[in-house]
C-alpha cells in the first residue's frame, strides 16, 4: 500500500511498543523511534506518494514538499528532544501519548487530502488531552476536560468546513484557499482554534501549565505549530490573518506581563510567537511564508528549551510561581544558562535562531510597505524581550533569594537542554543551515550591521525599561481573567441561575397547586366523607324519609309558585 515508510506510522508503532517494553529496551524505543521517523521523513519525495480510494475519495496519506518535510523534521526532532528530556522522569503512558501526539503532528504535515488531515488532527487532540491529564492533579484533570472540549469543538467546526468544501468543490485536496464563504470560514476558524487565536487563546495558558514538567515540553511544540503549517498550506495570504496575528502578538505580551506562574508566562508567549507566524502567513509573500516556516522551526526549539528549563525547576523544587522562586542560579547554573539561551533566542537576539527567523517576518512587512504591521512587530519584538527574555529568567533564577537550594537538572534533562541550546545558537550563527530547507528560495541577509544595531538598540533599551519599571512588575498572587471567563463563570452562573430559578419556580408552582388541591380535597371531605368528626358530611349523611319528603314538598311548592308567577 505504501511505497515509503510512513513516519507517522513509525511514531505510532514506537508509542505502542513503549508501553510493552521495559528497562533499556524502553529507553532504546523512546530515543530510537523519533530518529527512525526522522529518517523516514527524509525518504519522502516531493509530490503525492500514494493514493488510496476510500468511499470514492482519492485519499493521499503522504504528500511530500520542502515545507511539509521541514515541519515533519522539527516535529520528529522535537519528539527526540522531548523523549531525551523525559524518559527517566515521565510515566510510560505519558511518553506513549506524547509520541502518538507527535505522530498526529507528523501525519498532518504530510496529509495530501482533507480527510487524512482531519484524522491526524483529531489524533493530536485526543492524545494531547491525555498528556495534559498526565499532570495527575485535580487541576490537570479539570483543565484537560476543558482542553478536550475546546479541541473537539474546534474539530467539529473544522469538519463542517471540510464537508462543505468537499461537497461544493468536489475536491478533497489540501490546497490554498481564501476565507470567502461559509465552508472556508469554518475551516479557518477550526484551524485558528488550534493556533490559540482570539477569542479562545485561553485554552493554551489554561491547559499547558497544568501538565507535568515533562508533558508541557511536548505540548508546547505540536498543536499550535501544526496549525501554523495548516494555515501556510490552506490560507497563505488570507488578509484577516494579519490582524489576528497582531492581536495574538500583543495579547501574549500583556497577559505574560500580568502573570505570576513561570510556565503560564511561557504559555502566553507561545500565543505571542504564533501571532508573529500567523501575521506572516496573512502577509503571504514568499519572504513572509519563508519567515513563518523558519520562525516556527526555530520557535519549537527555543520554546521547548524554555519549557525544559522551567520543567527542571519545577521537577527539582515543586514550585512554579515567580513569588516562590528566585535565586536559583546558585545551584542550578546549567538550567539557568540554558534558560537564558532560550530567552535570548525567543527575544531574537543576534546570534540566536530567533534573530535569523523573526527578522524575516519584519522584512516581509517592510517589503510590502505595511507601516503599521512593521512597527507593531518591532514593538512586539521589544515586548518579547520584556516578558519572556528577561522576565522569565529574572524571576526564576535571580530576583530575590528564595532560600531554595535544589540540585541542578538530572543528566538526561540537562542533555536535552544542552542539545536544544546548541541548536538555537547554531541556527543563529549559521542561518543558511535552515534557510536552504525553506519552501522558497531565500535572498534574505539577516546579518547586516545596520539591522543588528537596530535590534540591539531595541532589545537593550527594552531591558533598561524592564529594570527601571521593576517596581511596577512586582509579582502578585493572582491570575488574570480571559475570554474563557465567559464559559467558565458567566455561562456557568447563567446556567446555574436558570437551573435554580427554574427549580424554585417549579417548587413555588407545585406549592400553589398543591395547596389549592389540598383545599379542594378538604372541602370535598367535609361534604362527602362519612368520617369527618362526629357527623358525616352533608352529602354522605343518611337522611330520614320524613325530612326528605318534607324537602321535596318544599321544592315542589317553590316550583309551582315560580311557574304560576
Amino acid at each position: 500500500m505504501f511505497d515509503v515508510l510512513p513516519p507517522a506510522l513509525v511514531m505510532v508503532l514506537g508509542a505502542a511498543l513503549i508501553g510493552l517494553a521495559r528497562g533499556h529496551w524502553r529507553t532504546l524505543l523512546v530515543l530510537g523511534t523519533p530518529l527512525v521517523a526522522l529518517w523516514a521523513v527524509w525518504q519522502i519525495p516531493d509530490g503525492v506518494v500514494s493514493t488510496v480510494v476510500f468511499l470514492d475519495y482519492p485519499i493521499e496519506p503522504i504528500e511530500g514538499s520542502p515545507l511539509r518535510r521541514l515541519f515533519a523534521t522539527i516535529f520528529a526532532l522535537m519528539a527526540f528532544g522531548g523523549g531525551l528530556y523525559a524518559f527517566r522522569q515521565a510515566k510510560w503512558y505519558e511518553l506513549s501519548a506524547a509520541y502518538i501526539y507527535a505522530a498526529g503532528a507528523i501525519g498532518v504535515s504530510f496529509a495530501g487530502d482533507l480527510i487524512t488531515f482531519f484524522l491526524y488532527w483529531e489524533l493530536m487532540a485526543l492524545f494531547s488531552t491525555v498528556v495534559v491529564w498526565c499532570g495527575g492533579t485535580p487541576g490537570a484533570r479539570a483543565a484537560g476536560v476543558r482542553y478536550a472540549i475546546m479541541h473537539l469543538l474546534g474539530g467539529v467546526i473544522l469538519k463542517v468546513g471540510i464537508e462543505g468544501v468537499v461537497i461544493h468543490t468536489g475536491s478533497i485536496d489540501v490546497q490554498p484557499m481564501l476565507a470567502t464563504n461559509f465552508d472556508t470560514w469554518m475551516i479557518l476558524i477550526g484551524i485558528l482554534i488550534n493556533a490559540a487565536a482570539p477569542p479562545v487563546s485561553a485554552w493554551l495558558s489554561d491547559a499547558y501549565p497544568e501538565s507535568s514538567p515533562t508533558g508541557s515540553v511536548f505540548l508546547s511544540a505540536f498543536t499550535t505549530k501544526t496549525a501554523v503549517l495548516a494555515l501556510i498550506l490552506l490560507f497563505p495570504g488570507e488578509p484577516v490573518l494579519v490582524g489576528v496575528g497582531l492581536f495574538m502578538v500583543m495579547y501574549g505580551i500583556i497577559y505574560a506581563l500580568l502573570e505570576n506562574d513561570a510556565r503560564r508566562i511561557l504559555a502566553y508567549s507561545i500565543v505571542n510567537q504564533v501571532g508573529f507566524m500567523v501575521c506572516a502567513i496573512g502577509i503571504g509573500t514568499q519572504m513572509a511564508l519563508n519567515g513563518a516556516a523558519a520562525h516556527a522551526f526555530a520557535h519549537i526549539l527555543y520554546k521547548a528549551l524554555l519549557f525544559m528549563s522551567a520543567g527542571a525547576v519545577i521537577y527539582r523544587t515543586g514550585f512554579s510561581k515567580c513569588t516562590d522562586l528566585g535565586g536559583l542560579f546558585r545551584t542550578m547554573p546549567l538550567t539557568a544558562v540554558c534558560g537564558i539561551i532560550g530567552a535570548l533566542a525567543i527575544s531574537g537576539f543576534p546570534l540566536t535562531s530567533g534573530f535569523t527567523t523573526k527578522t524575516m517576518i519584519s522584512q516581509a512587512a517592510a517589503d510590502e510597505n505595511l507601516v503599521f504591521v512593521y512597527f507593531m512587530l518591532a514593538a512586539a519584538s521589544a515586548g518579547v524581550f520584556l516578558h519572556a527574555g528577561i522576565k522569565f529568567p529574572w524571576f526564576v533564577f535571580f530576583q530575590k533569594d528564595s532560600g531554595l537550594r535544589p540540585k541542578d537538572a538530572p543528566w538526561n534533562m540537562a542533555a536535552a537542554m544542552v542539545l536544544l541550546s546548541a541548536l538555537c545558537i547554531l541556527l543563529g550563527v549559521f542561518p543558511d543551515l535552515l534557510y536552504k530547507y525553506l519552501p522558497y528560495p531565500v535572498e534574505y541577509v539577516p546579518y547586516t550591521a545596520g539591522k543588528v544595531l537596530f535590534y540591539l538598540q531595541l532589545l537593550l533599551f527594552s531591558g533598561l525599561a524592564f529594570f527601571l519599571l521593576l517596581p511596577l512588575m512586582k509579582r502578585t498572587l493572582t491570575i488574570s481573567l480571559d475570554a474563557d471567563w465567559i464559559w467558565r463563570v458567566l455561562l456557568l452562573r447563567t446556567a446555574r441561575a436558570l437551573y435554580f430559578g427554574g427549580a424554585a419556580l417549579g417548587t413555588a408552582l407545585q406549592d400553589r397547586v398543591g395547596s389549592a388541591l389540598g383545599a379542594l380535597r378538604t372541602r370535598a371531605e367535609t361534604h362527602f366523607s362519612t368520617r369527618t368528626g362526629t357527623r358525616a358530611g352533608v352529602f354522605a349523611r343518611a337522611w330520614s324519609i320524613g325530612s326528605t319528603a318534607l324537602w321535596i314538598a318544599v321544592l315542589l311548592t317553590a316550583y309551582v309558585l315560580v311557574y304560576v308567577l
Binding site: 485535580p138 505580551i253 518591532a378 537593550l460 498572587l477 491570575i479
Partner: protein, 89 residues
C-alpha cells in the same frame, strides 16, 4: 554548604550590582553611539533616525507595562478564583 554564602554570592553583592549597572550603561551608550558610524536603513524614514531603535524599544515597553498594569486592575483575580467557584469538572 551554600547557606553561609547565600547572602554574599558575588553576583548579589551591592558593589557587583553597581558595576553591572555601569557596564549596562556603557553598553547602552555604545549601541546608541555606534549609529554615528553604522548606517541603519530606515524602511519608512523615521526608523532610520538616530537612536530610533533605542527610543522605540524603551517607549513601547513603557507603554506595554503601563497598559498591562492598567488592565490588571480589571482582570486580576485571586489565584483561587476559579477553584473557589467549584467549576471543577
Amino acid at each position: 554548604m551554600n547557606d553561609n554564602r547565600q547572602d554574599n554570592h558575588w553576583l548579589t553583592r551591592p558593589e557587583t550590582i553597581r558595576k553591572l549597572w555601569w557596564g549596562f550603561a556603557v553598553v547602552l551608550a555604545l549601541t546608541t553611539g555606534a549609529q554615528l558610524f553604522i548606517y541603519v536603513k530606515g524602511y519608512f524614514g523615521v526608523d532610520g533616525w538616530f537612536g530610533f531603535g533605542a527610543a522605540f524599544g524603551f517607549l513601547s515597553c513603557l507603554a506595554m507595562v503601563l497598559f498591562a498594569k492598567g488592565l490588571g486592575f480589571f482582570l486580576k483575580r485571586d489565584e483561587g478564583y476559579y477553584a473557589g467557584g467549584d467549576d471543577d469538572v
